[in-house]
Each structure stands twice: as C-alpha cells, then as structure tokens.
C-alpha cells in the first residue's frame, strides 16, 4: 500500500481579513498517479484547494490555515513555494499573467534555469516540450504576441518542462477551442498514464472530465460534498443540479428518459455509451 502523495488533514482556511472560511474541514487523500478533477461553482474554493498543494496558500497569500497539508511527505506550510516547485507544477487560469520572458523558449527555460538544469539538457527539453503542446516553431516568438490559446499551451509547457510529480491545472483551457481543450487533457492523460504523473484539474468542462479523470471531487462552499469515480458522481444529475452544476449532456438525457420510463440500466456520463444505448433502443423499437 503506497502512501498518498497529497493529504489534506482536516483543513480549514481563512483568507486574510475574512470571516467566512474558504475551505472547511477538508479531508482528502490523492494517491500517486491519480487523475483527479475538481468541480464546483465559482467561489466554491476550488482554486484555493489547488493553491494549498504548492503552498501559495498560506505561505504567499497569508491567512490562517488549520489542519495540515502534506505533499510528497513534506508539510506544505513549512517550505517556500519555490521549494515545493520541485514537486508540484502549477498552471493558472490567466495565461497572460504568467508570461514574463521575451521569447517562448525562454519562458519554458525559466523553470529549468531555476532548477539548475544543464544547458545541454535544456536545448533538448525545450523543443520537445513545445512540440508536445503543439507550439513547435514558436521558440523565438514573444509570449505576449501569442493568441490566448497559444499562451495557455505555453503556460502548460513551462510547467511540464520541469517534469513535476504533481501537475495542478486551474481552468487551464478557458481560452481554448474544443479541440484545444481535448488536446490539453489528453497530454495530461498521457503524462499520467505513461510517466505516472499525478494530475489535478480544476474545471468546468464536465464532458471532458468524465472522459479523462479517475476521480471527481465536487466542492461547495468550501466543503467536499462528493468524491468518487466519474461514472458515479457525474450521473447524479439532480444532486449536481441542486449545487448549481451541470451534469454531462449524456447523463442529463438518460436521466430525462428514465423519468419517462424510457431508460434502463446505468446513467452514462460520456457520449459514446449513451449513443450506443439510444441506437439499440431505436433498433428495438423499429424491430
């Protein structure tokens, strides 16, 4: 039995000068190699939860943190964020605000330089990583001259190049088109499957998450209210609705049909099985 790579132990967190806690009694364990999606309304505490993992909360943002967050065996509050950076890679939602260098290659190089990676390795890693996110040939372009989607992929590349054990992405695809979104999550999926990287994604896109994630966690008002396999969580259409969240279209359809007595069997969370079952039903009705 391996130890969890991320462990929240009864964590309650207040931002500086606020009465209402941003996180309440969070108990959470994430195992190495898991692909976890965190869902919730804006302001539910998703981002705060993510920031706890690399220690931005509380070391950079202040506030009071009760309980403990342990990442890779380290107590997060004890180490500066730049130390946690060796284990945790973090991609934020506003890509433009993460750009600081004069060229895309240097943007990717920044983390490597800080980690002391040799020049000979950098010249190999940087083009590889840029190619991975589909930015091959953009090495010398200014990050601020890229489109929103390209910036987002560059921000991801800048973190991936550091080969963190844990990758946290906070709404990483808000500026991307549907294909771009799929690509980002499948890159993360590939790193997760092949390199065993632990991936935590904070997202609104339930469809994509149903497809890629091993586990879905739903947060409401700073509390974990659901925690389980995507098929289990995302099929609870009414409960998600009560929290103001949307279930995948396939689940909504199945749920609606079930209410009319037309659907039997489990509620699908991805499109493919739903299409399959509807096809069978139509076939049966005709035949």
């Amino acid at each position: 039995m391996t130890d969890p790579i991320i462990r929240f132990d009864n964590v309650t967190y207040h931002y500086p000068g606020t009465e209402e806690p941003a996180l309440r009694d969070i108990d959470l364990e994430i195992m190495p190699g898991e692909y976890v999606a965190i869902l919730g309304l804006n302001g539910a505490g998703k981002t705060t939860l993510g920031l706890c993992v690399n220690g931005v909360v509380p070391t950079m943002l202040g506030g009071t943190l009760e309980g403990s967050v342990t990442v890779g065996g380290l107590d997060v509050g004890e180490y500066p964020v730049r130390e946690m950076a060796k284990i945790v890679g973090m991609v934020f939602d506003n890509p433009e605000f993460q750009m600081s260098q004069l060229s895309a290659a240097e943007e990717v190089a920044l983390g490597l330089e800080n980690a002391g990676i040799a020049y000979e390795d950098m010249v190999r890693i940087i083009p590889e990583t840029l190619e991975l996110v589909g930015l091959k040939g953009f090495e010398e372009r200014s990050p601020l001259g890229l489109s929103g989607g390209q910036q987002q992929r560059l921000a991801i590349a800048a973190v991936l190049a550091m080969k963190p054990q844990i990758l946290i992405m906070d709404e990483p695809t808000s500026n991307l088109d549907p294909i771009g979104k799929q690509e980002v999550f499948s890159i993360a999926g590939k790193l997760n499957k092949e390199a065993g990287m632990t991936v935590v994604v904070i997202e609104h896109e339930v469809e994509v998450m149903a497809k890629f994630a091993d586990r879905v966690i739903v947060i409401d008002h700073g509390r974990i209210v659901m925690n389980g396999a995507p098929e289990e969580i995302l099929s609870r259409v009414k409960e998600l609705g009560a929290l103001g969240l949307r279930a995948p279209e396939a689940a909504v359809l199945a749920d609606d049909l079930r209410a009319r007595g037309l659907w039997t069997g489990p509620t699908p969370t991805t499109t493919a099985p739903a299409v399959e079952q509807v096809r069978t039903m139509i076939g049966a009705a005709r035949g």
């Binding site: 931005v56 950079m60 950076a85 973090m90 605000f97 750009m99 600081s100 490597l112």
Partner: protein, 298 residues
C-alpha cells in the same frame, strides 16, 4: 482577442556583422559615444561620429527603422538651431551675423547649435543601432555574467515586457469608456483609464509573482542559463578599440578645452539667416501639423 503592440523601437532580427557583436562590446561603444560627445565641442568629431554610427546602421541593415525613429530629431533639431541662433548658450561677446526684423542672429549660436545637435544625433543613432541589433535577452544574459544582480536584471527585462502590455490595456479601457459615451481626446481621455490600468497592474504582478515562485524563481540553488552569449576575440578587440579611441579623443578634447572651433569657423551672414529661417519654419510647421492632425483625428 489578440492585439500585438510592438515597442516603437525594438530589435530588428538579422544576422549582420553588427548583430553578431557581443552586447557588452556594443554597450562600451554606446557609453563611449555619449562620453565623447559630451566632452568635445569639435563639430568635425561629432559629425564623423554621427556618420560612422549611421554607416553601422546601414551595415546592420536597419536603415529604414533607423530613419523612422530619427523623425523625432526634426522638432528637436530645428528648435535647437533656431533658439541657439537668436540666443546662444555661450559667453558673450557674440558675433552678429544678420537680423530678421527685431531678431538679431548670431554666428556663434549656430556653431553651438551644431555642437548640441551633433551630440544628440551621434548618441541617438549609436544607441538606436545598438537597440535594433541586440536581442534584449542577450543583453540581459551578458549583464548577468558581469555579476549584475539577478533580480535587478529581471526587473529591467520585465519593464520592457510591460510597456506594450500597458499600452494595450490603456487602449482596451479607453475603448470601453468611449463605447459608454465618454468624450474627449488626448490626455483628458487617458486620465480616467489610469485607475483601472494600475489596479489591473497590481493584480497582474501578484499573479505573476505566484506563477514565478511556482516555477522555482528565487530558489537558492545553482542556476543555469538557456541563452548562451559567446565572447569571442573579435568582441574583445572591438570593445577595446572603442574604449581606447573614445577615451583618447575625450582626454585630448578636454586638454584642448573642449576643442571648440567656433573661433576658426565663421559662418556667412546669409548662411545663418537662411538656416534660421528654415529651422524656424520647420519647427512651427511641425507644431502646426501636430495640432491640426490631433484636432481632426477625433
């Protein structure tokens, strides 16, 4: 939404001899030029400096952007010459060269005007050639090698980045305010955008610092550099030659008491009068054009 606002003066990519010179060697020349320009009053030295810098610009293949950036010299140069001719910034006695109506025109003033203009032109051209042929990252990498503190270096590089960002943000906020019926042009229109832009800037900087820390910025360990700037024998020679030449000429000029040739060179009255008329007309023409253009562009 992608709007790319490039810096008005930015690097022009290229692979000329000038591009390949080490940034520090170029920096030696720029600093040297400024030192020499301000320690001599010999217009022949100043003129040859300007011509040489201009030739470097041609060799580097940045002639067109160079000329474009030099437009700023038109109002500066014309006002400088016109003012110096009617009120020289040198000690009396002044030699009268002619007069237009109530204005007395002085030949010494024209000489000193040429000196001032020569200083500005020579320093500006060499600085522009340097900026246009040096990748900022190479410059910062070289400065870091000279033990310039990492944070200070980063701040300089960041400033270069933020100028176009702020330009763009001003543009966006001003358009938003105009679309809600705000009137006015020029400075009065920019003023209400200041608060949102700077609040935005603070937010941006906080987010950026979090992002940088998350990538290990500021960690104590050994750091490496992705940009490799080579220092070749050639660069040492160019830098050394520049330093020797410039220090030599500066010292010689200072020994000769700024080496001013205003006593030897006497401009004819007609020349001074014509030049004054041209300079004054150019200057007022420029101002008039700017005002009219500004008013009609609403």
């Amino acid at each position: 939404m992608t709007m790319t606002t490039a810096l008005p003066i930015a690097m022009i990519p290229g692979d000329s001899v000038i591009h390949r010179i080490n940034p520090i060697a170029k920096l030696v020349w720029v600093v040297g030029y400024i030192v020499l320009a301000f320690s001599t009053q010999n217009i022949f030295i100043l003129a040859s400096m300007a011509v040489f810098a201009f030739l470097l610009g041609i060799v580097a293949g940045v002639l067109k952007p160079l000329l474009k950036a030099m437009i700023i010299l038109v109002p500066i140069g014309s006002s400088l010459l016109a003012l110096q001719i009617i009120a020289p910034a040198v000690e009396r006695p002044w030699t009268l060269a002619g007069s237009i109506g109530p204005l007395s025109l002085y030949g010494d003033g024209l000489y000193y005007g040429f000196v001032l203009l020569g200083r500005v032109v020579a320093s500006l051209i060499i600085a522009l050639v340097m900026v246009m042929t040096t990748h900022p990252s190479d410059l910062f990498t070289s400065l870091a090698k000279l033990k310039m503190p990492y944070t200070l270096n980063f701040m300089l590089a960041m400033t270069l980045q933020l100028i176009p960002v702020f330009q763009r943000e001003f543009g966006v906020i001003m358009s938003a305010q105009k679309s809600r019926g705000m009137k006015g042009t020029g400075f009065s229109a920019v003023l209400p955008s200041f608060v949102p832009v700077f609040v935005g800037a603070i937010e941006r900087v906080q987010q950026l610092s979090i992002s940088l820390e998350s990538r290990g910025f500021g960690s104590d360990g050994h750091k490496t550099s992705y940009r490799q700037v080579r220092v070749r024998v050639r660069d040492w020679i160019i830098g050394g030659l520049g330093a020797v030449l410039i220090v030599g000429l500066s010292v010689y000029s200072i020994i000769r008491g700024t080496w001013s040739l205003s006593g030897e060179i006497v401009f004819s009255g007609a020349f001074v009068t014509t030049l004054f008329a041209i300079a004054a007309l150019t200057f007022f023409g420029f101002i008039a054009f700017t005002i009219i253009y500004g008013f009609t562009r609403k």
